[in-house]
Amino acid sequence: MRNKQNEVRQVMVCCGTGCQASGSKQVLEAFITQLQSLEGVEAVASTKATGCNGWCEQGPLVKILPDDITYCLVKVKDVPVIIEKTILGHGIVERLLYRDPISKNRVQSHHQLDFYRKQKKVALRNIGEIDPASIADYMARDGYQAFKKAITMSAQEIVDEIINSGLRGRGGGGYPTGLKWKSCLQQEEKQRYIICNGDEGDPGAFMDRSIMEGDPHTVIEGMLICAMALGASKGYIYVRDEYDLAVKNLTRAIQDAREHSLLGDKIMGREFSFHIELVRGGGAFVCGEETALLASIEGNVGEPWDKYYFPSEKGLWGYPTVINNVETWANIPVIIGQGAQDFAQIGTENSKGTKVFSLVGKVINTGLVEVPMGTTLREIIFEIGGGIINGRKFKAVQTGGPSGGCIPAELLDLKLDFDSLHEAGSMMGSGGLIVMDERTCMVEVARYYLNFLAGESCGKCVPCREGIRHMLEILTRICEGRGRTGDLELLEELAETVQEASLCGLGKTAPNPVLSTIRYFRAEYLDHIENRFCPAGICRNLTRFSIDPEKCTGCGLCKKNCPANCISGERKEVHTIDPQGCIKCGSCIDTCKFNAVLVQQEVGL
């Protein structure tokens, strides 16, 4: 057995966007400079910057291998201690380990946490394990081996392999990737384009960003395999403009791949050339829609067109084009490398493989989670996510981004895949999961998303531009206490036209937040319209807070936190809220530990 004590320590500092924002760059520099001053450092330790580990809440994260130690919330001042105790002394700095909030025990490695243990990493397999700026790191983990294998396969074999894997597009549509490739392969036109859609725009979603930042070569390898199968010589990666680090890491990766003869002319000495160009997004959500994205690459306004021809038939500049999402591309090397059969064993009957979700909202562990298709919402939210913050009750989870839908507690055992989500009135989308607790007003949620979509509709077609505007108007008045009898029916009628008549996916799915909340939370809408009451206590015009004298212990916490200074009461005596001064911010109800703050109907409406 090898003696771990004598092995070179690898210090892996997470430099994803989240950790960088918490100062991980400084931690990395501190490790580099302080380790350099050690004598014979090469034999002791090496330092590496990795991509996002998905556990941003505890960042900056520092992992030490081969000991498999994960330190959380590391600061520059902790660096000397870690070097002394762990790297030189082979011990553990207890206080930097994660403390399990339930058992109160310190956890040595992130691998022991439920958050990681229940995940299955396929698309995210390398992230956090490699330095994204190092092609050698990628190659050390079988990088570009799938491409080398693909060289020995015929175009048809490659396409068949993708079809057999059952892989469906991870960008939202869920169209079988292999069929897309096949359709492109069948076109007579030989000029073809390969595109990676990295214009991730859903609020709260960051899976594509993580992959582009943390493992850029996997995207390049996926595209390369497709380009070789289809004989395409040019590819584009369309990256959301705000993703600076992704642009930087991808640029570096493209450069390195070119130097290794994996991109450029005569790749590996063969009669095959493939060039990848990076395009920065035009700054519009709708440019994530593939036809709008193509228009944007062509230099036109990002407006979609009717998809009666698919891009695989007539795409960029009218030529056959395969356009796939970042996460889809990240799966390609795995499918080719390990075989379609292995891949198809993961997941459900019609949705194969894994899906990366960005788990956010009122859940204890937020971050990126990758799970097999068919995992239930309950497993993701309660086992991986650790449940709801502050012990509150789960109310709904919003899936699929702004034009997804809200799924209620009754459906927590829903096995997540493309079809089950669609049947539940929502969608997979790019994989956003926003968890909401009982302090969430579903009408307000619908209004919030419609407001986002109204701002992001390109305005080309009438039903999307005008329909969303009018639905937003109705939702706004319901939230403000001006709802009218018949508003629900009007909303449903407009939603139907917007859904069916709109030109692109944005408009066709825009009514989802409205329709799904009406479907599962109709009573809450009626409370707003007929009783002028917001049961969650969110819509200010419809809410009045008061304190239950039976439950109030007079702890004074609400009084201390009230920004309007309108709570009065002596210590250990029942407190009262002055309705005149109350701004209905809800900080009292959020801080009260005894459930003593009541939500009531606003009087005088």
Binding site: V286, Y309, G459, K460, C461, V462, P463, R469
Partner: protein
């Protein structure tokens, strides 16, 4: 290839749009953003029809849907009429000052509802003016912004260097939303004033200097360029008389 539109057999070529085929067969499909000079845009969605293809029904925009196989088309179903009614209502609320939309709002028997109107607005954002300007070779105007902020404008709403004052945009506009005024030998459009040139024949102002200079720069001399439209018609008629 033969397809069926409203129970009628229609001869079509591969790639024709349903709207083209229907118009040739004199089958009416309502449109607002379509003009025969341009390819279909799919903006107003009024031309939605129901297509049955291999037993599968779907709603498509007939102005952009290319016919590539044998299909059956139904241009009016209760579902489509309901959608058209809502679309007309949307368009009317967007541009209630347009006479065209006012009359369509009546014809479709849209019921007044509580939704707000853009008082005084005439433009329904059909983009035909932009296409016309592009076709003229100027591209002086375009759609700017997005969503409900979208509008037709010159860059930064300033007098455009490229605008010739030709008025093609105003001429094609179905809702007379583009303001064009002529006074004392000057034409004003898109925040820019143009000096008008008088017809050599009758002396009436008929075109802008920029427009004529642009035409001259594009092609060989045309003796009739310096005459107004009605004089040209008279002169042509004269010529035909001589020949016959």
């Amino acid at each position: 290839m033969i397809i069926i539109i409203d129970n009628q057999e229609v001869q079509v070529s591969y790639g024709d749009t349903i709207l083209d085929a229907a118009q040739r067969a004199k089958i009416h499909i309502p449109t607002l953003c379509h003009h025969q000079a341009f390819a279909g845009q799919g903006r107003c969605r009024l031309c939605l029809v129901e297509v049955t293809e291999q037993g599968r029904k779907r709603i498509v925009a007939s102005c952009t849907y290319p016919i590539t196989r044998e299909i059956t088309v139904c241009t009016s179903t209760p579902r489509i009429e309901k959608m058209r009614k809502n679309l007309v209502m949307f368009l009317y609320k967007q541009a209630p000052a347009s006479k065209l939309l006012q009359s369509m709002y009546r014809d479709y028997e849209c019921q007044d509802n509580s939704l707000p109107e853009n008082a005084g607005e005439k433009c329904m954002l059909c983009n035909l003016c932009v296409l016309a300007c592009e076709e003229m070779g100027s591209s002086a105007i375009s759609l700017i912004m997005r969503g409900t902020e979208k509008k037709v404008a010159t860059p930064y709403n300033e007098a455009s260097l490229d605008c010739l004052g030709c008025g093609a945009c105003a001429a094609i506009c179905p809702t007379q939303a583009i303001e064009l005024t002529e006074r004392d030998g000057y034409r004003t459009i898109w925040n820019k004033e143009f000096k008008l040139v008088n017809c050599q024949n009758c002396g009436q102002p008929y075109a802008t200097q920029e427009q004529l200079a642009y035409i001259e720069s594009r092609g060989p001399d045309n003796e009739m360029l310096h005459c107004c439209l009605s004089c040209r018609q008279k002169m042509t008629a004269q010529k035909i008389k001589i020949f016959t």
